[in-house]
Every structure is written in C-alpha cells, then in structure tokens.
Symmetry: C5
Subunit: 307 residues, 5 copies
C-alpha cells in the first residue's frame, strides 16, 4: 500500500476491515489512485433539476451507460448516482469502477426553504449493486436537519456494519441562513464538522466564500485572526474543521463555469490541502471528447503534473 | 425469446431472474405479446372517482369479474386494479392474464392541493394473488411527494426481492404547479425521470402538452431547441427522459374521449417511440362489444396492422 | 352447505380456508343461519357516546354479560364489541356465538370535524378471545381517512392471514362533506365501494337518503337516470356499488327510533337486496323482553316470515 | 382463596393464569388482603410536580427507599412509582410488596391544554423489576387521547401476555372540557367506561362532583333520574359505569386535604361500592408516624373496623 | 473495592453486573479514582457551537486525538464526545480511559425556542467503540421534551441491558421558561429529579442560581424555608432532589470563565455534596500546559488536597 494511503487509512482505524477495504478501493482507483486525491463523477442532476436541464446540453447523458463510460475513460476515482442510474449499468460495469449509491434525493417540482430530501435507496440495494459506498445529503440549517441527521445515522451504521464507506454531501440551507450564508466560510466549516461528527468517511462541501454568517462565529474569526483571505486558506480552514485534516474532504464544482475558473479552484483546493473535487455538470454537460480533455486537466492539477 | 423482448430485457440486467421473468410474462402476453408494445387495462376509478361515475355508463363494470374478462377477450397485456377488485377475481382467472396490484389509492371524498394516496396493499398480498407486478402512484410536485417516494422505495425493494415488477404511475400535482403545468412537457419528462431514478420498470405518464412550466427548464428547451411541436416529438422527448429509452414508458388515455382522438394519440405514441397505452375509462365505460372493437383498433395501431 | 351460503362463499374464493370457515360460521349462526341474511348486535356505544347515554335507559346493559345473552337469546348472527366488553364475557360464552372484535373506537370527550378513531385492539387479541372477525371503522371524507385506510390495510392483511373475517364500518364524515352529505346516496355508495376495494368481507353503511352530494356524481346520476327514489332502490344501488352484490352489505339501524320505522327500513333493505342489519341502540336500550320481541320481528322480516 | 377474591377474579376469566395470579397477589396483600378493598400508595409527584413541591413538606420522601418502607409498614395493598423510584428500591424490597411500574409521566415545566404524557418505562422493565402490574395514565378529552389509547393498547397487550396486571389512571383533561368538567359525574363515569373498554384490570379515577358537563349526557341523567346527589351515589354510578361493578375501580385522594374530609370520602367510596383509594400526597407529605396513623384510619374504614 | 465506591454502588443494585462494572470502572479511573468524585472532559462543542468557536482559541483541539490525550494526562475520570470524535480515537486509546458516547446532538445553524436534539449514535455503536456509558441530553421545559424522554427511555433500556451506564445531561429550556429560569434553583432541582426518575445513573445539570421560576414551587420554597442562599446550599438541594443523594450528580462548568470562579464553584460543589464537574471549554480552549495546570487544581479541590 502506498504510504499516503496507509496514512489516510490510519485515520479510520475504528472501522471494520470491509469498510477500510472499500476506502482503499476508492483511493486506489483511477488515474489519481494512490495519491490520496480524488476526482469523483456525480450524476444526480436528472433527479435534482430535471432531465432537460441536466442532459439536453449533451444528449448522450440521457443514457445511464454514458456516465459509467465517461468516469471510466476519464480515470475518475468513483461514480456516484441515484438508484435508477446505478441499476441501469451496475451489472454491465460490475467491478470496473467504485460506485457510490446516492441514497437520498430532492427534486424542484416542489421546493421549500427548509428542505428535506427523500430517502430513495437502502444499504441492501447498495450491496446488491456492488457499491463501495453510500452517499447521503444533509442540509445543516434546515428546520428538518434533525430528520436528515437521524436518517444518516441509521444508514451509516448499517453501511459500516456491511463494510461500505459513507460519503456525506453537507450543504447548508434553511430559513435561518441568508443565501450568501450557505457558502460562508464559518457555515461551510461548520457543515464539514457536523458531517465528520456524524461519522462520514468522505465529506463533500461547497467551496466557501470569505463571508462570515453567524455573529458568534464572526467574533472568534476576528479575535483569532483565522486566515480566510484566499480560497486556498479557506479550503485549509475547512479541512482543519474536519478533524484537523483527518477526514477526506472534497469540494463540489457547482454549476457549469468557465474552465479556467474550475482549474483555478482545483489548484486552490490542492494547495489548501483539500483532497479533491466532485465534478458533475462541468464534465457531463459537454461532448465526451471535451469532457475527457477537461477532466484530464483537472486530474493533472491534482496529480501535480500541472501547476 | 423474440429479439425485441431480449433487447428490452437487457435494460434490466440488474434485476433478479424472478423479476425478469415477470417482465417477460407481461411483454409476451396478449395480442401485442413479443412486439415490445403494451396495452394495459387499469380499473381503479371506482376507488378514485366513486362507483357511479365509473360504472354507471356501463353497469356491467360494477362486477369485478367483468374487467378480467374484458382484458382477456380484448387481448390486453395486463390488468391493473386495487386489492378488492383483484381479490374478487384472482382465484377464478388465476394465471390467465398478468395482474398488477395497484398498491396505493386516493379518493375524492376528501381532496387536497398536495395529495398523498393511501397505501392500500402490500407486496405479500400481490404474491398471494399471483400478480406479476405492483403498481404505485407518485405525485411529483406535491408537498407530500417525499412520503410517496419513500413508500415506493420500500415497496419497490420488497417487490424486486420477491421477483415482481414495479409499475409507477407518475402524475405531477401540487400547490406549486399550475393546472396546465401538470401535463407540461418539461414536467411530464421530469416525472418520467424521477420514476426511472426511483427504480420503476414500467413508467406511466400522461400525454404531455407543448406548455413549459418551469422557468429554469424553459431556458434550456429554448436554447437547445428541443423539438416538442408535435405529440410524437413530445412522446419521444419523454421516452428519452426515461434513460434514453431504456425504460418502458406508457401513456394514459385519460378521461373518455372521441375514439378518433384516442387512435390519433396511439399513433403519436407509437411513432414517438412510446411503448403503449394504459386505457381505462375509454374501454370499460362502453358496452362490451364496443369496447372490444375499440381496443382492437388500438392494438392494431400498436401492432402496425393499422397505420 | 346451503346453496345460498355456497353462492356467497364463491365471491370470496381468494380467501384462505380459515377465513372462509369463519364467514360460514357467521352466515350459519342464529335464526337467520343459512339464509344469507344477517342481524348483528353491536355494542360500542359505551365507548363512542358514554355509559349513561348508552345504558341508563336499560341499566342491565351496563353489564357486559347482558349483551352476550341478548344476542344469543334473540338468535342474532353475531355480537360485535370493543376489547373490554369482549374480554369480560368471551370465556364464559366461548364458542356460543360468533364474536366480532371492534378494533378501533372513538369517544366524544374530544370531537373533531375530521375524525380518526384510536386503534384499540389487535388481531392477536381477536384470536385469543376466539373471535370470528375483526371490525374496523373508516371515515371516508375525513382528512385523516388515509391513516384509517392504512391501519385497516395492515390489520386486514393480518386478520386474513390468521383466518379471520373483516367487517368494515364505512361512515362518511369530514370537513368537505355537508351533514346531509354523510348519508347522501352517492356518498354512501362510494363508501361501500371503498370498503370493498380495501378488502372488506362484510360492509356496514348507513341507510342512504336521496340527496346527492358531489357535483361530478350528480351529473352521472342524472344522465344515467339511476333509480334512487325509494329506499329499496337506494339499497339496491349501494349493494350494486359493492362489487355488483358480490360483497355482503348490511345497514345500521342508527339512533333509537319508532319500531315501525325500523321494520319499514328492514323491509326496504331486504327488498333492495341488502343482506341485513346491525342493530344496537334499538335493541339494547329497552328492557330485555321488549328487545327480544323487537328483534324477533326484524328477524322474521329478513327471514321472510313477515312481509 | 377468600370468596370475595374468587368473585372478583371471576370477572377477569379471559386473562391468563399469570395475570390472574398477579391480581390475586395484589388483592391478598396488606392489611386489606382478602377483603376486595385496596389502598395503594402512589409516588409519582416528584416527576409530575417537581421534587420540592412533593417532598419538602416531609424531606424523608426525597429518598426512594422511604416510600417502600411506608407502604410496607402501613400495610398498603401496593406501591406505584416511575422507573427511577422503583429501580432505586426494587432489589432491596424484592417480593415484599406488589409493585406497579408507572409507565408514563408528565411534568409541568412544559404544560399544555391537551396533554400527552411521555412513555417512560416498558413491560420488560416491569418484569425485570419484579412488578405485579404496569400503570398508565390516559387523559380522555385531550386532543391527543388517541395516541394515549394506542400506547396503552400496545403496552397492555404486552403486559397481559407477560402475566402482568394493568392499572389505568383515567383523568379527563383537554381543551373541549371546562375545568369543572374534569370531575363532572358524567365525564368521570365516561372515563371509567373508556378505561374498562380499553382492557384495564384496575381503574383509577378522581372523585366526581355532581356537575354534568356534556349536553347530550345531561338529558339522559335528567330523563332517567340517575341518582347523583351524594358522593356515595356518584361513586356507585361510576362503579356501575365500569361494567356494572365487574372491574376494580379506585379513587384518588387528590391534593393534600383535611384528614376528616379524606376519611369522609373513604366512607363514601366504601358505601358507594368503590374498591378503595390511591393516596399519595396525603400520606407521604407528612411525618412517617402521622402518615402511618392516617393510613391506619383509612384502612380501618375500608376494612369496616371504623364506620 | 473502596468503601465509598461500594456505598455508591449500593444505590444501583437493580442494575446488572455489566452496568455496575462500568460504573465502577468510571468511579475508579483517573486521579480521583476511588474517591467517589468525578471530573469528566466533554467535547461536543464542535457540533453544538461550530468548530471555530470551539477550537480556534487552541487549534490543537481540532484534532480528535488531542482530547483523548488531554483527558488521560490530566487524570480525568472519563471522556465524553459525539460519534465522530470517538470513532477517530477509540481504537488508538482503547481501554485507556472510560468513554461516554454522546448519543444526541444539536447545532445552532437552525435554532428554536423548544429544541430537540438529533439522535446521532446508538448503543451498538457505543459497544463497538468500547464505551463505558452513553450520554444523552434532555431539555425539560421544551415542548418536545416528551420525544426526548421517550428516546432516552429506549436508549437507556438498551444500554442497561448491554451493561452500559447512562449519563444524562438535563438542561431546562423552552418557550415556557424565562432565560433566568433555565438555571433557577427549582427548575434545576426538577431537572435532576426528572433525569433520576428516567433512570439515569449519572446526572449532569448546570449550577443553579437562587432564582425561583415556578409560582407553585416558590410557595413551597418559602413555606418550608429551603436553604438556597449559598451555592453550596443550592448544590445540596439539587443533590437531595436526585433521590436524596442516591444518584451521582455532577455540574457543568459552562462557558469559559475566570479560573478563580471555576475553582470557587468546584469548592461549592464539593462542599454541597456534589459529585464533581464536567468541564469542557474551560479545559480544552487553552494551551495544553495551562489546561493541565487548571485541571490539576480542580482535581485537587475535589480530592481534598486543596481547600
């Protein structure tokens, strides 16, 4: 085992051999295998935003097999999707790439200020489909966060008992947060801490801004002069907030953006000690060749081949 | 096995042999057996709208045995009904036609803007009655959709484990949708996607209009110039939205209408790549002889005997 | 087995032998045994209305043993009561009369527009007490009807598995119904249909008036000229609405009334094809001798000895 | 077995030998053993009203062992308390006095018009602690009464299966009752009926006033001229309302009062056919010697030694 | 076994040997082992207040291993933390210090007047991690207290069956309490009583003020002249309120404060018969050396080495 992987694994020594094996499987897969860096392809936008908004820009993406192939060819670390998308390809691509079953989902046909996703998959289904992990979204700040934490607790315990890893999407939202507050540095760091305390192995958060949302937190950031001026500094603070770097924290690419900005962000994540990216729309919403080229650059940034 | 059936089956390769067998049983039954097309007879209107509104136009329909006979004589693909109707005839018609136990129902003695059906049957009951599948309605857009998705998730997992197929009625409704929006093309396509992501084998939606409901979706439809001008084009888009045609999507006939309009719609469904129709009120609300003649035409359209 | 009983039994051929045996036990018991007619004694008013309102007019009724004896001596078909009343006499009268355990109850110390009864007994308790059936009230039209349907579904499945029969009290009530609407012919027929679709073996409804409550239904009643002018016609329509007469439908006597009116109603139920009555307050709220005489007349009407 | 005990036991002949044995154990314990009368010591006020209000008047009562000793020395029938108080002494006093585990509790740090107690103990815990019965409070009249009835139903079934007896505190409260109505004769009689119908072996109610709360009930009380003028008459009516005296009904002493008044009430309970008292604050809120003297008088009244 | 430990253990004689062994393990651990005094290190502030507010003052605390080491080196009695923090170090520090798994947590990204924490860990997880106890927070006074009591009841029964001890944080909060009332002497004493009645082995409350919140309680405090003038007197009253001192009651240090004040409080706790302190922010929010010195003083106060 590569030294860096052994080091990362040492942070999870309370887990059983099955879960540790799946973490290693994920960390050793793809072009970044063995580096301790991850680039994950997630495709739940069909459920979350609707099919046309997700796949019309690159209609090949309507086909669930497309994403398995894309993740494989690009050399991604893992592929994450809801039940239907995984059921449609898990048999054909069995064992070729670590799969993460996204176990809850939300749609925008009915939206609310304090959202709660529906639980759409089970640990048994993840096992049946040969997944390496389950994925679960929590919305800290939602008045319904308690329900999500408790759903995650139960699923997480069951997943760990079954030797799976647990990936948590921790996205602050809710009626007591401002829109800007959803990506405020204090709030994103808090979201990472909550996911870690709830037992996540891999934590996915949004890239934080320099805004500070909570009054009580603001006093501390100012008094302790926590450096949050650059994106890399903010990444470093978020990673520190997840058990001083002893949990894998990756960052989401967000909506489709200028390539150069995404590359810039990847550099900041890397330089700030982040573990990688989870990049959906920026990869599958363009033609395959372009997507492969785009992902190649991102992977090279994380792998250190590109500065 | 006919080639088309084998092709369809290849989309469901994560399912166990029992479920695949039941899918084959459905696809091979009736006059359209082996063609990959389906015409299903559903009779849940007694529960959903009341007995007189459903059966007074053709009082033979008050008798549950009538519908088994009608579906059989017409050569339909399957017969779908609530628990009571199936219990009343399942023993007599055992093994003669694939049965779909409609596992949730809603009545109009109490109606609401954000509806939630009652779960009225279980997977065990479907097995006891010799059914090939369970049926379940979700109302994407309802503030209670989360509950329905989670009920479906649990029933669906249990049904698949037991070797049954899962048919999902995906009908957008709810306080955040306009009446027109319930059949808007973007909303119907989204409803098909959600059902597919939730693991449905067969998806039933309403025929979509050219209206676009959601602002964010409208931009994409316009930018990508998705063709939705004709009914066949809209059917094609909905089928594409259900995993690029890798899920069986059928369309509901809706309220009683002019025969010619129904035939026209069947042609559009067929030509747009749809898999068939689920026709209730248009068949059982007329005398048996007329119903058989009517269904004969529909089946001939799907079978290609009629243009 | 008498021919009529065999005929009735043929409607329930999906049920297991245990349930069929209990249906036969009920249909063969008492003075109407073998005729296909039923007169059931229900005593849940102590819970539903309070003890003094129920039993002060004939204080012997405070004693739970009284009702077992009354039902036996009068030659009733079965005796239905809540847990406490059955526990108090089931051992002493074991095997002498079919018992129906009323598994949910409601009191008027707290009342509401959209009522929901409390589940007060289980299938296991019915088995322990030697019952032939469970009884359950649903309030179609209540905003809480969904909960009741789902409770009934679960209890009903368990009861049928255990070889018990299921008797459903289907009483429309709720904020979207007018007071008059609770006994409107369209609403009562709808209530019978819902109970049948939910899998009831025996359905109890109130006697319907000629009022039509629902606008959409009214159109159909008028267009199809459904005959509802006389009580017998309305009974016939309700029986038709319960699977074209293939489910046992009985009618409740309601509050204490003039004897002659009750006899008149019994004749209408009989002549309209109804299966009998469930008569509580009119029998136990008068002295025993009078009650026996009264029930004797009702039974003779159903048995055909009296016109 | 004493004749009176055998007679009482005959009312519970649907119960299993284990439960009957525990009823006998209770009825045969203490100075009133064998008489069919009961004086139970309940100490849940620490939870219900707070420790200082409960125990400061006689600080020895802060100690859980005190109450075991008091009940034993006074020759009480049984001792009832919440989980914590029983856990604190059940091992030391094992087998010396019948214990009743109070399985739900309510505090006044948050109070509400329509209360619902928290379930604070289980049947398994009652068995572990060697209890003879569980105790449970219902608040008929509360908008949450349904929940309490269903909790009681489940606990009661489990307790009876395990050979325990079931004691129900039936205390009307709720937004649709006036303060005076909580102890109105019609309401208390109704509360006793509900507890009996729910399957209680022993029913505890408050002493009723001559007030009649419910309009529909008032008519009956007047028409039937039910005697409720004296306390003994009201006790008799409540006992009649609990299955014509075929259930054990005891009355609560309420808040601390003049001794003479309590003795007067005990005589009325005895003379009205009540089965005894459950006396908490009047016994443990005074020094031990006084408490023993006080209970001695009460017991002598029930035993007939004192008029 | 030391005499004092044997005495304490005698209060818990209804517990099984496993639970008693874990209580002994806790009471015998650390520098205060065998004295019957406890100083526990709790670190759940990362979840409850966010990472920067908790750990930025002493960034070493971001690392979960830090707190295990701190508790060990300082000679604390036990270490309490949420799931994530324990998972991160339980394997490395296995068996070196008694662990308390904090099984529910609350964050301030969404706050409410009547709070309810999320259940974030299970008894099975506590067993997997080698814990000696579970910890659970209740908020008496919250409109949601009923839910917390019932969650605690279930977890507590399961924990005790599994041989674990149960530590309850009992913190009054809720819309019917004033801010001052949360630490009022009557309310804190009530909170201790509730925790004891719910079956807690170790009870953690806040230090009470001399304020009296509840009108009915105020009368009793005045009439009985309960001494609450000094902090030691108030501690004594709270300890008395927890079964007359027959339950272990410890007090929380609260927010970071002047050292001298904390020492003063420790003396008052000791002199008032309290069993010790649970000190989080005052210990881990300063550099390690200072923290060790600070805890050394606290421990010496409890051990009697310092007056």
């Amino acid at each position: 085992m590569k030294e860096r992987i052994a080091q990362i694994l040492s942070w999870y020594e309370s887990d059983n051999p099955g879960t540790r094996a799946n973490l290693v499987r994920i960390l050793n897969h793809g072009r970044l295998g063995g580096t301790g860096r991850l680039v994950i392809l997630p495709v739940d936008q069909g459920f979350e935003h609707g099919p046309a908004r997700s796949f019309a820009p690159n209609p090949a993406g309507y086909n669930p097999l497309y994403h398995f192939q894309l993740a494989l060819e690009a050399g991604c670390t893992a592929y994450a999707a809801p039940l239907g998308f995984l059921e449609a390809g898990a048999a054909r691509y069995a064992g070729e790439i670590p799969l993460i079953l996204k176990a809850n989902n939300h749609d925008v046909l009915h939206d609310e200020k304090d959202p709660l996703s529906a639980v759409t998959a089970s640990v048994r289904q993840a096992l049946r489909l040969g997944c390496a992990a389950i994925g679960f979204t929590i919305y800290p700040g939602s008045s319904q966060s308690r329900t999500m934490y408790e759903q995650l607790r139960a699923l997480s315990e069951e997943a760990k008992d079954a030797g799976l890893a647990v990936v948590v999407w921790s996205y602050p939202r809710g009626s007591q947060l401002s829109k800007e507050g959803e990506t405020a540095i204090d709030v994103v760091a808090y979201a990472a801490q909550i996911a870690a305390q709830l037992g996540a192995h891999i934590i996915k958060v949004k890239l934080p801004s320099a805004h500070i949302e909570l009054t009580d937190a603001k006093k501390v950031y100012e008094k302790q002069q926590i450096p949050i001026g650059t994106l890399a500094e903010r990444v470093r603070h978020v990673v520190q907030s997840a058990f001083d770097g002893r949990r894998i924290v990756i960052f989401s690419g967000g909506a489709k953006a200028e390539d150069e900005r995404v590359f810039e962000e990847a550099r900041a994540i890397r330089d700030g000690g982040g573990f990688g990216s989870i990049i959906g729309r920026n990869s599958f919403q363009r033609p395959r060749a372009e997507a492969l080229k785009f992902l190649d650059t991102v992977i090279k940034i994380y792998g250190g081949e590109l500065k």
